[in-house]
């Protein structure tokens, strides 16, 4: 993965770049705050942060249109923010409060938004892949041109149900984009210890599904590849695979001591490939923004995130009667 960093000349407009910057930064700040609240004991259980991977979801959301669906694993905060869900509702779910997206009953791993067509938030590795193809099935059944984005990890890519789904998605030409977020680790297992071939995107070949590897640390590369995949799916040509080569900076979850990689490895990616710094450099070098402009954005985002944290602490715990609701519709 050769990242061209800011050196690459970009035709992307100033507004677009600023939008990516803002959205990626919001995810990062939100996740840092979530980590902090976890440390304070306000968030419990499993909490998987998305820091480092922001360009993937921000770049792909820029290719989606009204009615498109998205679904992912437990590492879902970034996806929710990027599709327009309210940071307050997400943070309040993290703290297990009544104003959370699931009224506090789902937690970090299980949130949904019917309105934003965000279908979760799934804790079983790989389960979201056929579910995502099912969303695409519904689009095809209804004869609309919407597509579904099914995100999953490099570790999940070894689940049998993924290949069952590839087969049916190709057979039935389902408009689903399989987004493999290859952050190179599944918990403590480096990809080379679990995965027989280094390029997961080629695994679609056996099913006739086109795929490509994408620099997932470069939001512009993600957007470009996403546009191609979306066009393919929307035009009825069936599924598409995008393998996003990315990296997670934090542990697998909050309680991961991360002894399976060196501090230097993480530091190197941070310094050389950070997706936010990349756009920041493009903005400054292209004279689209000044340091001052960016500081103002930083400040604005910090205040949004702080507000969400405040909201999430002030929201009451769910009423005890909620234990018995939402079991049956």
């Amino acid at each position: 993965m050769a990242l061209s960093k800011a050196a690459k000349k970009s035709n992307t407009s100033k507004d677009e770049l600023l939008g990516y910057y803002r959205e990626m930064l919001q995810i990062r700040r939100f996740e840092e705050k979530a980590g902090q609240l976890y440390g304070m004991g306000l968030i419990g259980g499993f909490c998987h942060l998305y820091i480092g991977q922001e360009a993937v979801v921000v770049g792909l959301e820029a290719t989606a249109k009204e009615g498109d669906q998205r679904i992912t694993s437990y590492r879902d905060h970034g996806h929710m923010l990027a599709c327009g869900m309210d940071p307050k509702g997400v943070m309040a779910e993290l703290t297990g409060r009544s104003d959370g997206y699931s009224k506090g009953k789902g937690g970090s791993m299980h949130m949904f938004s019917a309105e934003k067509k965000f279908y979760g938030g799934h804790g079983i590795v790989g389960a979201q892949v056929p579910l995502g193809a099912g969303l695409a099935f519904a689009n095809k059944y209804r004869g609309n041109d919407n597509v579904s984005f099914a995100y999953f990890g490099d570790g999940s890519a070894n689940q049998g149900q993924v290949y069952e789904t590839f087969n049916m998605a190709s057979l039935w030409a389902l408009p689903v984009i399989f987004v493999i977020e290859n952050n190179q680790y599944a918990m403590g297992t480096a990809m080379k210890r679990s995965t027989s071939s280094p390029d997961i995107y080629t695994r679609g070949q056996a099913f006739g599904i086109p795929g490509e590897a994408v620099d997932g640390m470069d939001v512009l590369a993600v957007k470009a590849a996403g546009d191609k995949a979306v066009a393919h799916c929307r035009s009825g040509k069936g599924p598409y695979i995008l393998e996003m080569k990315t990296y997670r900076y934090r542990g697998h979850s909050m309680s991961d001591p991360a002894k399976y990689r060196t501090r230097e490895e993480v530091q190197k990616v941070r310094e050389e490939k950070d997706p936010i710094d990349h756009v920041r450099d493009l903005l400054l070098q292209g004279k689209h923004a000044t340091e001052e402009d960016l500081k103002a954005i930083d400040k604005e985002i910090k205040s949004i995130v702080n507000e969400s944290a405040k909201f999430a602490q002030e929201s009451p715990e769910p009423d005890l009667s909620e234990l018995w609701t939402d079991i049956y519709a």
Binding site: E32, G35, Q36, Y38, G39, M40, G41, L42, G44, Y101, S102, G104, K105, G106, H110, M111, F112, A114, Y119, G120, G121, H122, G123, I124, A127, V129, P130, L131, G132, A133, G134, L135, F137, A138, Y141, Q161, T165, N167, M168, G251, S255, P257, A258, K259, R263, R270, K299, K302, N306, A309, K310, Q313, E314, E317, L320, W324, D326, I327, Y328, A329
Partner: protein, 450 residues
């Protein structure tokens, strides 16, 4: 602005930890993501990163300190002018008192009401096999609602492995009657996803033995999403197919899953015996906004029953049916178990024992009231089912009866079930493994002290 850096909780169970090592010192400038310290939790040694940029002005807890409680200030950070951090944690609202005893509340879900007949007196009847009844149910519902579709192995061109869907491809076409590859895990996940998006799939499992490959999606994806989403996203889907022992097909193809699925909140489970119930329950299942399992039986598929000749006949979920009234003992069964229950009741009548026979029909939610009312009248109960005996439906009913009608019982409840063995192939052994009418008769005699 100066803020305290607090001792973090670095695992779900951590309450205190050792501040093993500081990687910064007073006077250092740190930025977000820098490692501040190493902290030993109850599980491992973890690195603790800075969230905000700023200057470390003071270290409050020396390295090597053990037993530092979570949220104790460990250092002071001076940030550059910006309002950033959440200061002290806002006190968590104290948890209110625990709700009513969960056990009672959890299982008393059906309201009290008489087990009434669904069909008005004088209704014209027609004779249908269970197979035809199931087909009519699906076809009628598919005519009414374009969102309903059928998918499964061999359901379309082959006309159904058990010919349940015969003719449906012709009527509804390949968009709505869909042959799948033999990939239960995958196609069940796809169907559940389609249901999240608002379609109403009917998933046919060739038999429920193969649904074990798909049970993760049935339970984790279909049953739990409504709850996990705080009521936002439901899963209107039907999983149906042959369940239980067929004949001479050996251990992997002969198992009753009633008790498995009955345990799961979020699922509804029906197991019809008659053709009328098969039709009426399947139609209700298709209309229900929740995931419903319809556990059919291969041996019953070809059996004929009287079915109301009505344009839209449904049977409500969650209601048992009293097949035969009696006064000496209550026999509770469901599915093919009803065959043994009814045969036993006939035999017992000849000996002057009057058995009340209740068909549960729905295994979840169970119509407890009909059972309890009957047991309070007869004071004796025998349960009959084909499944394994450990943690069976009968075990559960016994507990319920003991809890709610103990004083009415004149004898212990007896559970007749399949034997605690994998299903053998040999004809004589298979017979021995299954429940028999004779065993039901003996159980009734035992509880009536005859």
């Amino acid at each position: 602005m100066a803020t305290n850096i607090l001792m973090p909780a670095l695992s779900p169970t951590m309450e205190e930890g050792t501040l093993a090592k500081w990687l910064v010192k007073e006077g250092d400038t740190v930025s977000s993501g820098d490692i501040l310290a190493e902290i030993e939790t109850d599980k491992a040694t973890m690195e603790f990163e800075a969230v905000d940029d700023g200057l470390i002005t003071k270290i409050l807890i020396a390295e090597g300190t053990e037993g530092v409680k979570v949220n104790t200030p460990i250092a002071v950070l001076l940030e550059e002018g910006e309002d950033t951090t959440v200061e002290a944690p806002v006190a968590q609202p104290a948890a209110k008192e625990v709700a009513a005893p969960a056990f009672i509340a959890a299982i008393t879900t059906t309201e009290v009401r008489p087990a009434m007949e669904e069909v008005p007196a004088g209704t014209k009847m027609k004779t249908l096999t269970v197979r035809e009844a199931l087909r009519e149910a699906m076809s009628e519902e598919m005519r009414l609602d374009d969102n309903v579709y059928l998918m499964g192995e061999e359901v379309a061109e082959y006309q159904g492995a058990y010919k349940i869907s015969q003719g449906m491809l012709d009527e509804f076409g390949p968009r709505r009657v869909i042959d799948t590859p033999i990939t239960e895990h995958g196609f069940t996940g796809i169907a559940v996803g389609a249901a999240f998006a608002g379609l109403r799939p009917i998933v046919e499992f060739m038999t429920f033995n193969f649904a074990m490959q798909a049970i993760d999606h049935i339970i984790n994806s279909a049953a739990k999403t409504l709850y996990m989403s705080g009521g936002q996203m439901g899963c209107p889907i039907v999983f149906r197919g042959a369940n239980g022992a067929a004949a001479r097909v050996g251990a992997q193809h002969s198992q009753d899953y009633a008790a498995w699925y009955a345990q799961i909140p979020g699922l509804k489970v029906v197991q019809p015996y008659s053709a009328a119930d098969a039709k009426g329950l399947l139609k209700s299942a298709i209309r229900d906004p929740n995931p419903v399992l319809v556990l059919e039986n291969e041996i019953l598929y070809g059996r004929s029953f009287e079915v109301p000749d009505l344009p839209d006949f449904t049977v409500p979920l969650g209601r048992a049916r009293i097949w035969r009234e009696g006064s000496d003992v209550t026999i509770v069964s469901f599915g093919i178990g009803m065959q043994y229950a009814l045969e036993a009741a006939d035999e017992l009548a000849k000996e002057g024992i009057s058995a009340e026979v209740i068909d549960l029909r729905t295994i979840r939610p169970i119509d407890y009231e009909t059972i309890l009312t009957s047991v309070r009248k007869t004071n004796r109960c025998v349960t009959v089912e084909e499944g394994f005996p450990v943690c069976s439906i009968g075990n559960h009913l016994s507990a319920k009866i003991m809890t709610e009608a103990f004083d009415y019982l004149d004898a212990p409840v007896i559970n007749c079930a399949g034997k605690d063995v994998p299903m053998p192939y040999a004809a004589n052994l298979e017979k021995l493994a299954l429940i028999t009418t004779k065993e039901v008769i003996e159980a009734v005699k035992s509880v009536t002290y005859r």
